[in-house]
């Protein structure tokens, strides 16, 4: 029987995974979204499509390919082994890699839309005042794109909390290390322990709803509309 105590490490891994994944995605997704927002043509179409792939592919497909990539006969796993490093499979870093891929569009797309909305005119104005490219980004574009950063952060975090298939495949469901809440729900349902499944599922439902309501309220405020 699962108890409340047994849920704590699972919830801990889940929250830590969502926090680390969101941080990595904001750091890597911002330049990517910036590039996508200011580019047109075939290269942009290809990269934008690759970014959107996790939206359409079943997570188990992503998980299966990640497993092949990370395995000792895959390019990533093979390179790591050659360098004398440990494999990423069944580690916390491994499920972070999986979640980053899986939640990529949820961070990059809101950022891209926000950067596109900023347009080129404020940046050109800043350029005439001799602001350098980095300066223009941090003092003009980023503040104007604040609602986009907020949406990206919340969606990236919330979507990673709900992650199931990729973590399941790459993580190995090790208690305290790679076992997350959505896997715990799956196990309880499979074991016909509907009581425990309800507790976690209802908790996640409530959490997700609250997060999305808060996001809508905050976004409205950032846009300067009446509360």
């Amino acid at each position: 029987m699962a108890t409340w105590e047994s849920l704590i490490p699972v919830a801990g891994v889940t929250l830590r995974l969502a926090a680390v994944t969101t941080a990595v995605l904001l750091a890597a997704g911002t330049p990517l979204a910036w590039w996508l927002a200011r580019r047109t043509g075939f290269a942009k179409d290809v990269i934008a499509s690759v970014v959107a792939l996790p939206l359409v592919l079943p997570p188990t497909v992503l998980g299966f390919y990640l497993l092949l990539l990370l395995g000792p006969w895959g390019p990533v796993g093979g390179a790591l082994t050659a360098l004398g490093m440990d494999s990423l499979a069944f580690t916390f870093s491994g499920i972070v890699v999986g979640s980053v891929v899986y939640s990529l569009p949820f961070v990059v797309q809101p950022l891209q839309v926000a950067f596109e909305a900023v347009g080129t005119r404020p940046l050109e104005a800043a350029a005439t005042l001799r602001a350098g490219p980095l300066d223009r980004f941090f003092t003009v574009a980023a503040p104007l794109a604040r609602p986009g950063f907020l949406t990206a952060t919340v969606l990236g975090f919330a979507h990673t909390i709900g992650e199931f298939g990729v973590v399941l495949m790459v993580g190995g469901s090790i208690p305290g290390r790679t076992r997350v809440l959505s896997i715990a729900i799956f196990e309880h349902v499979e074991a016909s322990e509907y009581g425990q499944a309800h507790v976690i599922a209802a908790g996640m439902l409530g959490f997700s709803l609250l997060v999305l309501i808060a996001l809508h309220g905050l976004t409205r405020r950032l846009r300067g509309e009446a509360p």
Binding site: G74, F90, I174, I183, E187
Partner: protein, 254 residues
């Protein structure tokens, strides 16, 4: 104007799409089947039954726990071929399954296997040496093959020592992928999987004294108690011909 016409056409077409004549066929027999039995079903049992009886049976595959939940919630299945004995027993007790129709159709064989040749020896000594990073098991809480693997390790006195190296697949096919991709050096899979996918590979089969038998049971569901084809299909599974097909797929028979 065009868009409106399209919308009207779509609405008119809806009832036809929803009713799907192929699925509404009342004579069709639907059997819910545990995922580990998928290959024997599609490749051997279903074609043989159709040849012999002239009836086509539709199989729906999934994890036993999931299929059980669906049946409890009114899924239109006529029989269940489970990966365990527990779920069919519960269906019989709750009246959702026909009393007395429950029987063991296959005995699961769990084996230790590695995708790297030379890793697993004929006596399973590799487990005692413990010179590997990860040992993959199906989740013992929900997968009968995982439970048998855990019982084996406990009986050998190795469970506590190896537990830190154990990684879990949620079902037997996911466990197979963990090992086949090399991420886990070795692990416990079903002999039926190995026979279907890599028949030449070496494996170690724990003795029958090391774990409880993996009894895979079938049961006729109450909604199909007067369904002659469903009954005929279950009888076919118990016939010498059915048993031979099941045994040749890597299962033991009663």
């Amino acid at each position: 104007m065009k868009a409106r016409n399209l919308a009207v056409a779509a609405i008119l077409a809806l009832p036809g799409l929803l009713s799907q004549p192929g699925l509404a066929n009342a004579a069709q027999v639907r059997v819910a089947v545990a995922a580990n039995f998928m290959l024997p079903m599609t490749e051997k049992v279903l074609p043989a039954f159709q040849r012999q009886s002239g009836h086509a049976v539709v199989a729906i595959y999934g994890p036993t726990g999931g299929l059980y939940s669906q049946i409890v919630n009114g899924a239109p299945y006529d029989a269940l071929l489970a990966a365990d004995a527990e779920r069919p027993r519960r269906l019989e007790e709750s009246g959702l399954g026909v009393a007395g129709s429950r029987f063991t159709f296959a005995l699961g064989e769990v084996v230790l296997w590695s995708a790297t040749p030379g890793t697993v020896d004929a006596k399973g000594e590799v487990l005692k040496q413990g010179k590997f990073g990860h040992l993959a098991l199906a989740n013992p809480k929900i997968a009968p093959y995982g439970l048998a693997a855990q019982q084996t390790l406990e009986k050998l006195g190795l469970w506590e020592r190896l537990k830190p190296k154990v990684v879990y697949g949620q079902d037997i096919s996911q466990t197979y992928q963990l090992i086949a991709s090399g991420n886990a050096e070795l692990g416990f899979v079903a002999l039926s999987q190995l026979k279907a996918d890599r028949p030449g590979d070496a494996y170690w089969k724990p003795g029958a004294d090391l774990h409880a038998p993996i009894e895979q049971q079938a049961i006729l569901l109450t909604r199909a108690k007067d369904n002659a084809v469903a009954r005929e299909f279950l009888a076919f599974l118990r016939s010498p011909q059915g048993k031979a097909l099941i045994e040749s797929s890597g299962y033991g028979a009663e």
